[in-house]
Subunit: 361 residues, 2 copies
DNA sequence: TTGTAAGCGTTATCAA
DNA sequence: TTGATAACGCTTACAA
């Protein structure tokens, strides 16, 4: 069956103008054009400059970043590696980073690990091949070679949310310890005494370890002054809702007359807990007090509203990108750590006797 | 204050090996190395090939995509322009596209419009400058020049979710008409008769227009056979919750004894409706039947569970990327339209007398 | 102040 | 079958 041809390839246009075209058009040398573009205010005869300007405009010329990169080694490209684009946190980072990069005239090259941390090295290699000038990494750093690679390439690196072991790089993250304190203190103040900290499998992910440790130390520190305060931790996996159900039942039993409260370490876990509660037929707040990491658009509308600890996600992304930009501009400081505070948003899920089913914030 | 210097710039490594290095190492010419790499099976003396292979391995050589792009004009880069990375739908597309690209050995360059459709042109220009081989566009196409640009550049384009006017390009999207039918029919079958279709401001966005039109035509078609069926539409804006509240009150009043049902055109609108319901103190299902476009992880946990129309988002992204890959491999067909069906996920919000508050799916 | 020419890392053409 | 050599589009000594 004969099919009509499409035109895309047909109407192939007068290809992009090159610097040579501009030079010819303006009746000058390529070097002059290049100077006009790059060393703006340095050396120009008004007459010539004007001619070049006209030619550039006439041909709608813009220099090829590729050729530029080849020559100068600088590409105006930033490599962003995320562990999982599905993760809202990664997306927030991405968004902040993309914005900052765009403003600084950089473009983002994206590599998604799809949670396969083995590919970290591959990602960095691939990006490096394109001469990216720096990296923003939101990965686990489990792939030992990756860190080494990035460092060896001598390109600046900013780590977001998750530290890499042995890697000297700027690090931007939530103040995990502070945030856990905030949440735990809130639950305790509301009267909850039997606390459970539910995390995704910790597996050496730095942010998870920090939150877990902070919870334990909160319990340790607060126990003396608070009679009956107890804390436990639980690692929840995606496919094992039963285990979580049991952990919750256990906890409530252990609580006896006291109030049971829970801190979930991120939005994914929060959702699992909510699902578990639905299965158990428990009421948020009364049967179980809940504070969850990560404020989401839907938090206010689950049950009596979910009390959350909001991360300044946009800021994190923005700061990460800005850190990188500063390094690219030559800032030479030892690795920095930028820790941002979380913000507690109290809603119905941490009120022992929740009055209404619906209550937005 | 004297600060210790960091090492990143210190330990600058023996820069990437070039093809010349390999040639020297192997004692052959650059051309030979190039042939070894590119025209694999064509012409090689076993001895030479082996030497080159060793040298490549020894120097961990991999060709510079930049230089390659400069020479051949092909960059193994795909440009992805999204209207708004915040939008979960865009993220899904991004994810699918990124995966397919990676598999095909392409890297993604990302440009986020941040909902500023004026910058579409800028995005395409910037990406084109980097010699991207094709575009995946999830934008409104309001910037007239953009479409023209892309076409003029003679690079293949795939549109996702939103059509551009006057642009001959592959198009991948949900079957909006079918999906609306699905949702509306479901509400009607459940007994709802006074229907409201709530959309974001339509503004010529093709997917919004299609859904709106489909709703109207459903009402027109179904009215004769269904006594008392009424349908209206409403455009909801971010900052005007009051208007939505009023629309809902109006609708219920108009319903009188009949049941009032609502279709929200995407997850953002769904959340607005849920918020409005919370303000009004209405119960989902009983006071208002709800079917929302876009199934989300949290849908099962809002009130009695939200009935949704799930889009095959991953598939959409994947197909978009694959379309592009096919074009890049030379497929020369007229523009295709790929429409995927939505899937209805019935939950409590479309059950007139909802029994339990919590009920997961 | 401007032009000439070399070279960034490839690939492609042409001889050998 | 292999090796010079000339581009690709740009920047930058160096020369004029």
């Amino acid at each position: 069956m004969p099919l009509p041809k499409t035109q895309p390839s047909t109407s192939r246009s007068p290809a992009r103008a090159t610097i040579a075209d501009v030079a010819r058009e303006a009746g000058v040398s390529k070097a002059t054009v290049s100077r006009f573009l790059n060393h703006r205010e340095t050396l120009l005869t008004p007459d010539i400059a004007a001619r070049v300007e006209v030619a550039v405009a006439a041909l709608a010329y813009s220099p090829s970043p590729m050729a530029r990169a080849l020559k100068r080694g600088r590409s105006r490209l930033i490599g962003l590696v995320v562990a999982d684009v599905t993760n809202p946190f990664s997306v927030a980072v991405l968004r902040g980073a993309e914005k900052a990069c765009q403003q600084a005239g950089y473009l983002l090259m994206l590599f998604n690990l799809g949670n396969d941390s083995q590919r970290e090295c591959e990602a960095i290699q691939a990006l490096a091949a394109y001469q990216v000038e720096g990296f923003i990494l939101n990965t686990l750093g489990r792939d030992a070679g990756a860190a080494a690679d990035a460092a060896r390439l001598g390109k600046p690196v900013v780590l977001v949310d998750r530290r890499h072991h042995n890697m000297q790089a700027d690090f931007v993250s939530l103040d995990n310890a502070g945030a856990v304190q905030l949440g735990a203190r809130h639950l305790v103040d509301a009267g909850y005494r039997e606390l459970l900290f539910v995390s995704e499998p910790i597996r050496n992910v730095s942010s998870r370890m920090e939150r877990d440790a902070a919870f334990r130390s909160f319990i340790g520190d607060a126990a003396p002054e608070l009679p009956g305060l107890q804390g436990r931790t639980f690692e929840s996996t995606e496919d094992n809702g039963d285990a979580l159900d049991n952990a919750l039942r256990d906890q409530r039993q252990r609580a006896g007359g006291r109030l049971a409260g829970l801190i979930s370490s991120n939005a994914v876990v929060t959702l699992r807990v909510v699902a578990s509660l639905a299965r158990l037929g428990w009421q948020l707040g009364t049967d179980l007090g809940l504070v969850g990491f990560d404020d989401t658009e839907w938090s206010p509308f689950i049950g009596p509203g979910l009390t959350t600890i909001a991360q300044p996600t946009d800021e994190l992304g923005r700061l990460a990108a800005n850190c990188l930009m500063e390094r690219l501009q030559g800032l030479d400081l030892p690795p920095r750590q930028i820790l941002l505070s979380g913000r507690l948003l109290p809603r119905g899920s941490s009120v022992p006797a929740s009055p209404a089913i619906f209550s937005a914030t």
